[in-house]
């Protein structure tokens, strides 16, 4: 497992960096935030670039370039704070269908996902569950032809815009995942207004009828596998966001003059900046290692190894992104507190990302449990 980029991966990174620089300004992000939207046009452009199928096999519309390539795209999207639904549709939705779908479901749905036509969301959070994936009270009651789903899901990422939902529910004592058309009879969705302005929704299921074939294969282990991989991907997005926030802060330290000198010449601020740099480089290593693991063959890339790598990456990224966010405001001074300045956009995304799939405390506790202490 080598931590060096191949030429092909370097090309993906350059393309992603150029794309974000030319197609996605922070002005765009601000406008989308205020409207609570993302750009369908940009999403289709990403599909045309092949980014929506980097980890999907070629016969299902993907390119199979792999997780490290996907990491590079995610990092650049994170740098630009792009709100397009990569996390919900690709990291969660696509993965759930890829790992848990029948051949028919994969053949039908995955090409539509990779082409950007279909948006998917995973509805797995419930009130009081905090970060525990097995806290599920939504019920799947067997009927003659399938199941009836009843319950309420919160913080469904991409839930307002999704075409298709993957819903966790208890079928008796067993946690299962079901594909549910987002506009189906008995599905009610209400947009949540979150800090980062991105699409999230509360989803209420009032006796939604689904056929038996809507049940994905795999239950709780499938859910964990999907969420662990998405957690690693989220780490890459967070890495991009924290790098950009740090760069913005560094630029400010070099240009803001007080007491007749750039404030970046003060040792108190230099050392704080240097510490941020160190922490970000450590986070980068964790994220990279985890993605490299996902590109390894199955005997190395076990669910257990992925779980550990996910917890290392997410614990480190959650801790570091909040450190960077808070330090960024402090080093910007008063201007950093204004809504007009872009650093606040990063601070708000940082908090939401930190709380997605478990914060640092949660993942440190899980890491300890996985390592037998």
């Amino acid at each position: 497992m080598n931590l060096v980029l191949s030429d092909e991966q370097e090309m993906v990174r350059t393309a992603a960096r150029d794309f974000v620089a030319s197609r996605s300004s922070l002005k765009r992000i601000r406008a989308l935030r205020d409207a609570g939207e993302f750009s369908r046009d940009l999403w289709r452009e990403m599909a045309d670039l092949g980014w929506l199928g980097l980890t999907a096999p070629e016969e299902l519309g993907g390119s199979g370039l792999g997780y490290v390539a996907q990491m590079l795209v995610l990092e650049e999207l994170g740098r630009g704070l792009c709100p397009e639904p990569f996390l919900s549709t690709i990291l969660l939705g696509q993965a759930a269908i890829l790992f848990g779908g029948s051949a028919a479901q994969r053949n039908e749905l995955l090409p539509q996902v990779a082409s950007g036509e279909k948006l998917v969301a995973l509805a797995c959070d419930e009130e009081g569950g905090r970060f525990e994936l097995d806290h599920v009270t939504t019920k799947a009651t067997p009927t003659g032809a399938g199941f009836t789903l009843r319950g309420t899901k919160g913080h469904v990422l991409g839930g307002a815009s999704a075409d298709l939902l993957v819903v966790t529910a208890m079928a008796g004592e067993t946690l299962d995942l079901f594909l549910v058309p987002a506009n189906g009879v008995g599905v009610e969705r209400e947009r949540e207004r979150r800090l980062d302005g991105r699409d999230a929704a509360e989803v209420r299921l009032y006796g939604v009828e689904v056929p038996a074939a809507a049940r994905l294969e795999g239950g709780l282990p499938l859910l964990r596998r999907v969420v662990d991989r998405a957690t690693i991907g989220l780490g890459a997005e967070m890495l991009g966001a924290m790098s950009a926030a740090f760069q913005m802060t560094l630029d400010y330290l070099k240009t803001r003059v007080q007491f007749g000198v750039p404030i970046g010449s003060f040792q108190a601020l230099q050392h704080r900046a240097a510490r941020l740099f160190v922490e970000i480089e450590l986070a980068r290593s964790a994220v990279w290692r985890a993605h490299a693991l996902l590109d390894e063959p199955a005997d190395l890339c076990t669910d257990d190894a992925v779980a550990r790598a996910a917890s290392v990456a997410k614990a480190k990224c959650s801790e570091t992104i909040m450190l960077v966010a808070h330090e960024a405001i402090q080093m910007h001074g008063g201007i950093g507190m204004t809504d007009e300045h872009d650093i606040g956009l990063f601070v708000k995304r940082a908090r939401v990302a930190e709380m997605t799939f478990g914060d640092a405390l949660f993942h440190r506790d899980r890491f300890a449990a996985l390592n037998g202490f």
Partner: protein, 394 residues
């Protein structure tokens, strides 16, 4: 070609390595540092000598000076074959790691011929004379005076923190040859025989007990001008090149194998279990945080190593190793004290077992990690200025 070399070396190593040299070191002191002042067991000496004869103690150094004359690929093959047989290093020390490479780069032909062969054979052990009581982080303000007298310099002053000064035969030393002008100018890099009259060495006892550090006192010590490396008054650049080397070495040396397993075992024993986990969730969290940071740090080292092997220039990540590696080690030793509780208070037995006593000494010793080889604050200055490009105070 390389395969033939590998094949030949494998057989040669198998034939020549004494049996005990194929087992892990039982104690760090078992490794051979060479020199005239210490006696080593017969098989350690035999292993060193047989390797030195082929120049394999310094595999890539030119044959003309007694080195192995190997290409980089051959040297890697040798290292891999040695690792495959679990062979101990035949010789270590500042001669091989510091002054030798420097002489190869900067030394005159005469100095190379005089010193490199004895380094390769392990006959002479070297120490470094940099820091002074008044010149620590601000090394360039060093004041050990060297005045010309005929064909000699006459040295007067004091060096401190000389690692293994009492066991070394020669010292590479920074002296002030010109006290006027900018402090970085007027420094000269000299090679000094520790047996010269006027040299006195005294070991330093640390808060953690005995240590390899010494003070070195110099009173009217005569060193031939012929022993200057580079040019008189222009030793600072040479000294700095060596310091960078030292900082990369320091980053990775603290972690001992099994550190974390020992910590988990100690935590379970000292704090008890709840559902087979360490009972105290606060300590658990700190342990996880430490181990996660260690894992991130190890991967950052791996990133630098993989990049170097792929022929990339050292990236920004390499500047963080000294800073972060030492901070991590301090956190590890301190957390161990928290875990041991009252059993962390022992200095000697009885009442405390060896592991507890070692943990306490390790904690005390670790406080020096963020000072020696460039303080954390100096490292942060370097990152801020050279990596981040933050401005100097004007």
């Amino acid at each position: 070609m390389l395969d033939a070399f590998r094949e030949e070396v494998r057989h040669w190593l198998q034939k020549n390595a004494p049996p005990r040299m194929r087992t892990p070191l039982a104690h760090p002191d078992e490794v051979c540092w060479g020199g005239k002042k210490l006696q080593y067991p017969e098989d350690v000496v035999r292993w060193r000598d047989v390797m030195a004869e082929r120049g394999f103690t310094a595999p890539t150094w030119p044959k003309a000076y007694g080195g192995g004359g190997l290409s980089k690929d051959e040297a890697r093959a040798l290292a891999e074959e040695m690792a495959a047989l679990s062979l101990r290093p035949p010789l270590v020390g500042f001669g091989l790691s510091m002054i030798g490479p420097l002489l190869l780069q900067e030394g005159s032909e005469e100095l190379k011929r005089r010193h490199l062969p004895s380094i390769i054979k392990g006959e002479i052990r070297w120490c470094q004379g940099y820091s002074e009581p008044g010149a620590g982080s601000d090394l360039a303000s060093l004041a050990t005076r060297a005045k010309r007298d005929g064909s000699d310099f006459v040295l007067n002053g004091q060096k401190i923190w000389t690692s293994y000064g009492d066991k070394a035969d020669w010292m590479f030393i920074l002296v002030r040859t010109n006290p006027t002008g900018k402090k970085q100018d007027g420094i000269t890099f000299l090679l000094m025989d520790m047996a010269t009259p006027g040299v006195a060495v005294k070991p330093i006892r640390l808060i953690s007990g005995a240590s390899p550090f010494c003070e070195t006192f110099l009173q009217d010590v005569r060193v031939p001008i012929a022993n200057v490396v580079g040019e008189v008054d222009h030793g600072w650049a040479i000294a700095r090149a060596l310091l960078g080397h030292e900082r990369t070495m320091i980053a990775d040396v603290f972690k001992e194998k099994g550190d974390f397993e020992r910590m988990v075992a100690a935590a379970k024993a000292s704090l008890g279990l709840v559902e087979r986990r360490v009972a105290d969730p606060v300590v658990r969290d700190r342990m996880a945080q430490l181990e996660i940071d260690q894992s991130c740090f190890d991967d950052t080292l791996a990133r630098a190593r993989d990049g170097a092997q792929a022929g990339h220039k050292p990236g920004h990540e390499s500047s963080i190793f000294k800073y972060y590696g030492t901070e991590l080690n301090q956190r590890r030793r301190d957390l161990m004290m928290t875990i041991l509780g009252p059993q962390a208070t022992g200095w000697e037995g009885p009442g405390y077992d060896d592991g507890e006593l070692k943990a306490t000494r390790d904690w005390l010793r670790s406080r020096g990690n963020t000072i020696e080889g460039g303080t954390s604050e100096v490292q942060l200055n370097i990152i801020a200025k050279r990596v981040l490009g933050l401005p100097n105070v004007t």
